[in-house]
């Protein structure tokens, strides 16, 4: 993975229509973004569609990226993740009968968690998540990583949706306070 500064530079070049820079940006970030959306969508074909749409959006809106507000990889991952969440939310509301058969979802990567980069921000976030009650930790992380809705979390925790809503809200406010914001 390139450094954040290199990614910022590539995004700036992409904003000017530099196709070579876009190819390098894709090469440097595709596996991370694909990992994020595949966890949420759990279907190879859907994840590929979402990744494709996400990169087209990145190509078109690179000029809107503001390095003062967010890190390049988080900005790109948010685009992909939001798209993935939109897709799963819509899918549970329409009939899913005519789906092609499920494809194999690749198992988690050979790159072990322990060896991945952990920034100071991540350590602080984990610290704050770790201060929530165990059930709330699970709630927040299932929501973030697996893209579960309030309703799905309510089913998992066997709790009314309104309670989940309150828990989520309380948890987010606790995290905000813990981060000192």
């Amino acid at each position: 993975m390139l450094t954040p500064a290199e990614l910022v530079w590539l995004l700036a070049a992409v904003a000017k229509g530099d196709e070579a820079a876009f190819e390098r940006l894709y090469a440097a970030t595709r596996a991370k973004l694909f990992g994020v959306v595949l966890r949420i969508l759990r279907r190879q074909d859907l994840a590929e569609e979402v990744i494709q749409e996400a990169y087209v959006k990145i190509w078109n809106s690179a000029g809107q990226f503001n390095p003062g507000l967010s890190s390049p990889i988080t900005w790109m991952a948010s685009i992909a993740r939001n798209r993935a969440i939109d897709v799963v939310r819509k899918r549970t509301e329409v009939s899913i009968e005519e789906e092609p058969s499920a494809m194999e979802v690749a198992a988690d990567s050979p790159d072990p968690l322990a060896r991945r980069e952990m920034t100071e921000e991540l350590k602080r976030m984990l610290e704050c998540v770790g201060r929530l009650e165990p059930d709330r930790q699970k709630l927040v992380l299932l929501a973030y990583y697996n893209g579960w809705s309030r309703e799905q979390l309510a089913a998992k925790f066997e709790t009314p949706v309104n309670t989940v809503k309150t828990w989520l809200r309380r948890s987010m406010m606790d995290i905000r306070e813990c981060l000192g914001l």
């Binding site: 596996a31 900005w75 198992a107 322990a114 809705s149 979390l153």
Partner: protein, 292 residues
């Protein structure tokens, strides 16, 4: 405008991803009329986005790139396009250019009156936008406070569940072993399936002639159990946790003590506890979502 806790919670939940399709669309509407609200949502996305560092990279198929290239309108085989010279931009009169004709001063009054009128319209539009935002937020968070006509309709949907179970990546547990929240010294990660653990040294160097030893402390066990000496290398990986049941592993406190070089000679901690931490399920297993 000032934002209520309701707005902030809504922005947070949008970033977290727990809202349903209708509420997501409503938040996006709010974002399109309110830049400051957008900034709150983006701040949450940035805050939570660091969690993606924990997600393992997975390579998409090479065809995906071909489709992206096609979608943005270029491909490698394409010959360079010869674009005709762009037409010169329309000459734009500089703002401070001297007026070409003598000024009719009666216009000035009329124009400023017009400007005032537009300003009023702008203020009014902003007020509508703010009211709209407040109304949508109320719909989302406190629908009961709205008159009947504005209350969102309750929708009941029957969802069909397909039982598809792709192989499930296992959960990953993480503990920051630290003295205080500012300075983690070791990061302990445990694989939920194999229960292998890896300890990564981030900030601690043992004194000469001493070793760091990791202990598992649990109410279920009569005394702390040694998980071995750690920190000699940047990474220490061991399968010792296999012999403990998952609940014990998940709920235990992990403690690091300073011991004589090579570890405690007696199997009981002899030195002071310098770092402790508890596991959190940092990356849940990618299980299928329960349907509702």
């Amino acid at each position: 405008m000032a934002y209520s806790e309701d707005h902030i919670a809504l922005a947070a939940e949008y970033a977290l991803g727990t809202l349903d399709a209708d509420k997501r669309a409503q938040v996006e509407t709010m974002m399109s009329v309110d830049k400051d609200f957008t900034a709150i949502v983006e701040a949450w996305q940035q805050r939570l986005g660091v969690l993606n560092q924990m997600v393992g990279p997975i390579e998409p198929k090479p065809e995906v790139w071909d489709r992206i290239k096609a979608a943005i309108g270029h491909s490698e085989t394409q010959s360079p396009l010869l674009l005709p010279d762009a037409p010169p931009p329309e000459p734009v009169a500089p703002a401070d250019a001297p007026p070409a004709a003598p000024v009719d001063t009666s216009n000035v009054v009329r124009l400023s009156a017009q400007a005032r009128r537009w300003r009023n319209v702008a203020t009014f539009t902003a007020a509508i936008a703010a009211a709209l935002v407040a109304m949508i937020a109320t719909q989302l968070y406190a629908p009961d406070r709205l008159p009947d006509g504005l209350r969102p309709k309750v929708r009941t949907q029957v969802v069909e569940v397909k039982t598809e179970v792709p192989p499930t990546p296992s959960a990953q547990y993480v503990a920051l072993l630290q003295k205080d929240s500012a300075s983690p010294a070791f990061i302990l990660t445990v694989d939920g399936t194999t229960r292998n653990f890896t300890v990564r040294r981030v900030g601690a160097t043992p004194e000469r002639g001493k070793s760091f030893e990791l202990w598992l402390v649990s109410e279920k066990l009569q005394r702390p159990r040694s998980l071995g000496v750690i920190g000699g290398d940047d990474f220490t990986t061991r399968p010792v946790l296999e012999s403990y049941d998952p609940d014990t592993v998940n709920e235990a406190t992990y403690a690091v003590t300073i011991e004589p070089e090579g570890g405690s000679p007696t199997g009981v901690a002899t030195g002071p506890i310098v770092f402790t931490g508890k596991l959190i399920e940092a990356v849940p297993p990618a299980a299928p979502a329960p349907a509702r």
